[in-house]
Structure formats: C-alpha cells, structure tokens
C-alpha cells in the first residue's frame, strides 16, 4: 500500500511546489519558539518535580517537540484539538501559558484543572481543547465527534488528535479510524511513534507499521520524520486542508523517539544506549536550529533569551499560586449550563492573512 513521505520544505518559501503550505521567516521563528518553550517548560517542571513540588508521577515529551509543534501549527483558530501527554508544545501553541501548566503539575488552584486533575491530563476549553483521559487512545473517538459536529454544520473546521504507537493496538483506535473513514470526517490523526509504549517496543505491539492500515480504512496514511518540525507541519497542513475541503481523515505517522523515561520514575533500562545516542544526534531543536542558522534569518539568541525570561516569570507566577480549597473538592460533578468552547491561538501567518483579506 502506497504511503507517501513528506519531505522537509526547502527554506526559500518562493520555491515551493504549489501544494505546499508556505512558511514565512516569522513562522519559522514561531516553530522554533514553541519547541524551545516546550522544552524549557518541561525542564522547569522536572526541576520542580525533583524539588518535591509535583505530587504523584511526572511525564514529559522530551525529544518529541517537533511533532506537537509542527502538527498543531497547521491548525486554524476555530479548529479543535485533543492533545496527548507527550505534546505540551501543542497546548502552548494554542495559547496555554507555561505558568498554568506548571501550576497544573503542582496541583495548584491556578492550574488548568484547579488541582482536580494532574500531569498532562488537561485541555483548555477556552482555547478549543478537550483534555485527554488516561485511557488510551480514548480521545480518538472524541475527536471524531468534534469532527462530526463540524461536518453536520458544514463548517470548514478540523479536529486533530494525537496518540502513541502502543495505542494503535487498542480497539478504540480501530473504531475511531473506521468511523472516521465511513463518515469521511474532517479529522487528522497524528500517530506519534516514539518507539516504545512505556517499556514495550513496537515489535510487541504490532507486526506491520500501523501507517499501512490507513488505506484499509479508506484514507491516506502519511509517514514523516517526526524530528523535522517542517516535515510534520507540511504533512499536517495538507491533511487539514484535505479535511476542510471534505476530503476526510488522514493518518500521519511521525517517527520520533521518547528521550526520557515513560515517567520520571522510569530509568529506561530497556532502551539500548546506542539507540538513545543515535536519536540524540537527531534532536529536533538542534537540527532545526542548524537549518535556521544556515538561513540566517532568525535571531536565535534573542529567541532563547525571550523564552528563558518568559519561563522565569511564569515559574514565579506558578509558585505563587495557592493549593486548592478542600471545601471545593466535592462540588461541580454535574454541569448546570451548556458547554462553551473558545478558539485557540493560531500563530501560522496564513490565518492572519486570511483574516485581513476577509
């Protein structure tokens, strides 16, 4: 079964083949910015965890920054996202402040769930996100439902969701793929193949690369280098465009590597050292930095400064947040009003242009 492989976009936007989504210099700066912001936020979170300020366990997406940033960068403000625990970059890009994430992890009232949930189990409904549950990949059917609403109301909107390699073995993954195919839903599935499901290697989760299954559900499967942020973006932009135009779902497989343990408690003894070494040479941030450096049109030093400054003040903000009031623990089980979701930030220059044209 044919699976196309998206190639990194050449740096000069004027030499693009027509079908490719154009990235301005500012766009590239943003891509870099959010990858740096994700890594910085997660590094800060890990510090807080080691300082004993993060209750329970702790998970991050080290090494997978290009996947969440590159894919979410294709989303328009009104699109919706169900984001995975490895994809902090997508939250930040949609407009979640790092401070609220740190507060979330510390169980503070100022966190995204006010301390009711922890880790990456959140989504800011005011930014068009539906927070993940722990059961994987349960957000895949939910994303189908978001897409179903868009389709029924003939809105040119897209639902995007992420899941790992291990999650493709679960029945809900299949049910979501099949339903999306049958209803031709405007949904983009991003399979984040980081080589392991906790300690379990791909070889124990499936025999054939799951990207091969896409065609048997009746829609395209596109495999990309998950450590190349622009390759991920290009594939995602094409998939979103297809979905908006009624072309139905796309399964994107982003090949990457989980550079930290499954959680902070996991020493990764099961990962061959040379494997880690090889992948560390393909660090998504360093390699993009090199490419931008070549192009020379993004001031990386100032960008790093910016990010660091932002993180410092965000961390202070988070640490200043109170723990939640115990008396609120039992309230708010049932809603008294209908759901209201807001739109997310969409830094890709295309949306500003379209807005100004409109």
């Amino acid at each position: 079964m044919a699976t196309t492989t998206a190639r990194p976009a050449p740096l000069d936007p004027h030499q693009h083949p027509a079908h490719e989504a154009r990235l301005t210099v500012d766009d590239r700066r943003e891509l870099m910015r959010y990858m740096l912001l994700m890594r910085a936020t997660e590094e800060r979170a890990l510090t807080l965890y080691r300082q004993g300020k993060v209750p329970g366990s702790h998970y991050d997406g080290r090494g997978q920054e290009a996947v969440s940033v590159g894919s979410a960068f294709a989303l328009s403000p009104r699109d919706r996202a169900c984001i995975l625990h490895r994809d902090l970059g997508a939250h930040l890009l949609r407009g979640v402040r790092p401070g609220r994430v740190l507060a979330q992890m510390m169980g503070r009232a100022g966190g995204l769930t006010g301390g009711r949930d922890g880790n990456m189990h959140f989504g800011d409904k005011d930014l068009g996100c539906v927070g993940m549950v722990s059961m994987l990949p349960d957000m895949a059917p939910v994303a189908c439902g978001l897409a179903l609403a868009f389709q029924m109301r003939s809105e040119p909107r897209v639902a995007m969701t992420w899941f790992g390699d291990g999650s493709t073995a679960n029945g809900q993954w299949h049910e979501a793929m099949n339903v999306a195919g049958v209803r031709k839903l405007p949904v983009v599935f991003v399979l984040e193949n980081n080589q392991f499901a906790y300690s379990t290697p791909n070889s124990l989760e499936f025999v054939v690369d799951p990207i091969e299954r896409a065609a048997s559900y009746g829609f395209p499967g596109v495999k990309v280098d998950g450590n190349d942020v622009e390759a991920v973006f290009q594939a995602s932009a094409e998939a979103c465009e297809r979905a908006r135009q009624g072309g139905g779902p796309t399964l994107i497989e982003a090949e990457t590597m989980r550079m930290h343990g499954h959680g902070a408690h996991d020493d990764m003894s099961y990962v061959p050292p040379e494997m880690l070494e090889e992948w560390s040479r393909r660090d998504p941030i360093e390699s993009y930095e090199a490419r931008l450096h070549e192009a020379g049109d993004v001031d990386l030093d100032s960008l790093r400064e910016e990010v660091k400054a932002e993180l410092d003040s965000e961390t202070d903000w988070a640490l200043a947040q109170e723990m939640p009031d115990p008396s609120t623990a039992t309230g708010g089980v049932f809603a008294t009003e209908d759901p209201v979701m807001g739109d997310g930030k969409a830094p890709w220059s295309r949306w500003a242009k379209e807005a100004s044209h409109a």
Binding site: R80, L112, T113, R116, D117, H121, F122, G123, K125, V130, G131, V133, S134, M135, D138, A140, P141, V142, A143, C144, G145, L146, A147, L148, A149, F150, M152, A159, G171, Q172, E175, A176, N178, V179, V182, R183, G332, V333, F334, A335, T336, E337, D338, P339, M341
Partner: protein
C-alpha cells in the same frame, strides 16, 4: 390527550425534541432506514435524514466517544444501544470520558444514551440486563428510568435538555404493554423527583421501571392494607428526601427492583433508610430483587429469577405482620 404506548411516547418525545432543536441528533445501530431494533426511530430517517439519524457501525465505544465530542461542540446526541446490555461495550467512554469531563475541566457533556433494558420475554442473559447500578457507582452520570408513558416522554425531554450525560433506561417489557394519556407537544418531567404511584400509610414499596407496575398489582389489595408505591423515576440523583418522607409516614419499607441484588439500587435505598430513618422504622428494610445470577432464557427459569407479583405480595404481608 391521546392514549399511546410507552414506546410511542419515547418516539414522540424524541421526535419533538429533534423538530424543535436542530442540534439534537440520533446515533445507533439500525436506527436509520430500519427505524431501530424496537422501531423507536421509525420514520425518523425519512423526516430528519441520514445525518441526524446515523446508522452507526457496530462500535459502542466509538458511538459514545463521538457523542462526547459532538456534545462539547454544541450538539445534543442521543445514542441508542440496541440492547442495554451492550453498554458494557461502551463502558469506558461513558464512565471515564463522559462522566468525569465536567468535574475535571468544567466542560459540560449534554448527551443521552438510551438503554432498552430489562427482561420478562425470554431475552436471555444478554438481552435482559438492568445495568443501572453500575452507573450510580460512576460519578458524573445521571440515570433515569421511567415507568409510565407520560414520564417516558417527559424524562426523555429533560434528559436531552440536561447539560450532563444521562442514561435513559427504557424497559423493553413496558414498550407495548403500558399505555397512557400523553400530552402532545413538548413538556419535561423534572429529573430528581420521585413520583407517588399510589398513596398509602401502612407500608412503602420503593421501585422504578417495570417493577412499579408489579408493585401496584401486588399491593392492590393485601388484606386491605394501605400501601404506598413510590416510583423513583430518577435513580441519579436520587430523591432522598422523597424516599425518607414516605418512610417516616409508613415506617415499613420494601425495596423492589428487577436488577440483581448485590450493590443494586435497592442496596443504596436500603442504606439511605437505615442511616437516615432508623428511628422511624417499625421493621427491617426488605429487598425484593433478582438474585445474583445471569437472567436465564427459558420461561420457567426466567420467572424464577425475576421478581414476580407473588414475591412482592409475600414480602409485604410478612412485613405488615411484623
């Protein structure tokens, strides 16, 4: 007001809501052109089209999960399980995604899952179950179980308009057996309020769904005793005050349901009474339920397992004599 069946009342209520609110739509297996296994959505496909009457693939978790997604985006999905028993196949999405969504992130999930439940017609172990108690043990889900045509329509309307996930138990054994004068147009039966099926002073029978009718028949005349029959109507949230009020009046209680015994809704009602009305009781709180067994297929076995009129009579007699 025309007299229609419980089944017609459900269809009527669903149709009214769909006509009035374009965000309401149905999902389920064979609900489209075929009109559903029990014909609840008969004619809906023609009136509302394939989009709003979606014949879904055989995938309950996908159905419930997609309903959650559509609900948070402003639609009001009504899912039909072909039999209530199949909710076990959509259980995870229901208890972990739908039920916990609002508490965790303040995002309401207005959706309904219709559960054709109960036995009494040789449906066997997989077409006769009453799964309601699972969901009282799963915070964030509301549960209703109408026993009359009027409430079937009114509670469905309330369930659809409620901003929470609501499980709507429609008892298959009432579909065509029970008729009632049902008002035309839209109306709501408030959730969380029990109904008094018959007033009485000597003993209270607490029940819901099909067993309300068993209770009424069984207690029509037990040596002239005045027996109150409560129809819970909503199982979550439970009308605790309504139950306690009746108990304080009669001081004797039989709790009756078709579901199996251990950790059933009856256990919750008994415990409520034992905790809150201990001083008002003139006798033990008695449960009449199915024993803890799968519901067998063959009529003599099924009759032996499901509570019968005589079982209720006997329980009431004993308690009255206590």
């Amino acid at each position: 007001m025309p007299e229609i069946t419980y089944l017609e009342a459900i269809s009527d209520g669903l149709r009214e809501e769909m006509r009035h609110d374009s965000s309401v739509f149905c999902m389920g297996q064979d609900i489209g052109e075929y009109g559903g296994a029990f014909k609840v959505t008969d004619g809906f496909f023609e009136e509302f089209g394939a989009d709003r009457v979606w014949d879904t693939p055989l995938a309950e978790n996908a159905m419930v999960g997609a309903a959650v997604g559509a609900a948070v985006e402003g639609l009001r999905p009504v899912c039909e399980m072909q039999f209530a028993d199949f909710i076990a196949c959509g259980f995870d999405q229901l208890v972990n995604v739908a039920g916990k969504m609002y508490y965790r992130q303040g995002l309401a999930v207005p959706m309904v899952v219709r559960l054709p439940s109960g036995g009494g017609f040789s449906g066997g172990p997989f077409h006769s179950q009453n799964p309601e108690a699972w969901f009282l043990q799963s915070p964030g889900l509301k549960v209703v179980a109408p026993s009359t045509a009027e409430d079937a329509k009114g509670l469905l309307a309330s369930a659809i308009r409620d901003p929470n996930p609501v499980l709507y138990l429609e008892h298959k054994n009432l579909y065509r057996r029970i008729k009632g004068d049902v008002a035309e147009g839209r109306y709501e039966t408030p959730m969380g309020e029990l109904g008094v099926a018959r007033e009485g002073t000597d003993l209270t029978v607490v029940s819901y769904g099909a067993m309300v009718h068993t209770a009424l028949e069984a207690t029509e005349d037990i040596d002239g005793a005045s027996i109150e029959v409560l129809d819970l109507r909503t199982l979550c949230p439970l009308d605790r005050d309504g139950i306690l009020e009746s108990v304080r009046k009669t001081s004797k209680v039989v709790v009756l349901h078709e579901a199996t015994r251990s950790c059933g809704v009856g256990a919750e009602v008994c415990s409520l009474i034992a905790e809150e009305a201990f001083e008002d009781l003139d006798g033990p709180v008695v449960r009449v339920t199915a024993p803890d067994v799968p519901i067998p297929f063959s009529p003599p076995l099924e009759r032996a397992v499901l509570p019968q009129v005589d079982d209720v009579k006997e329980a009431c007699r004993e308690l009255l004599a206590y």
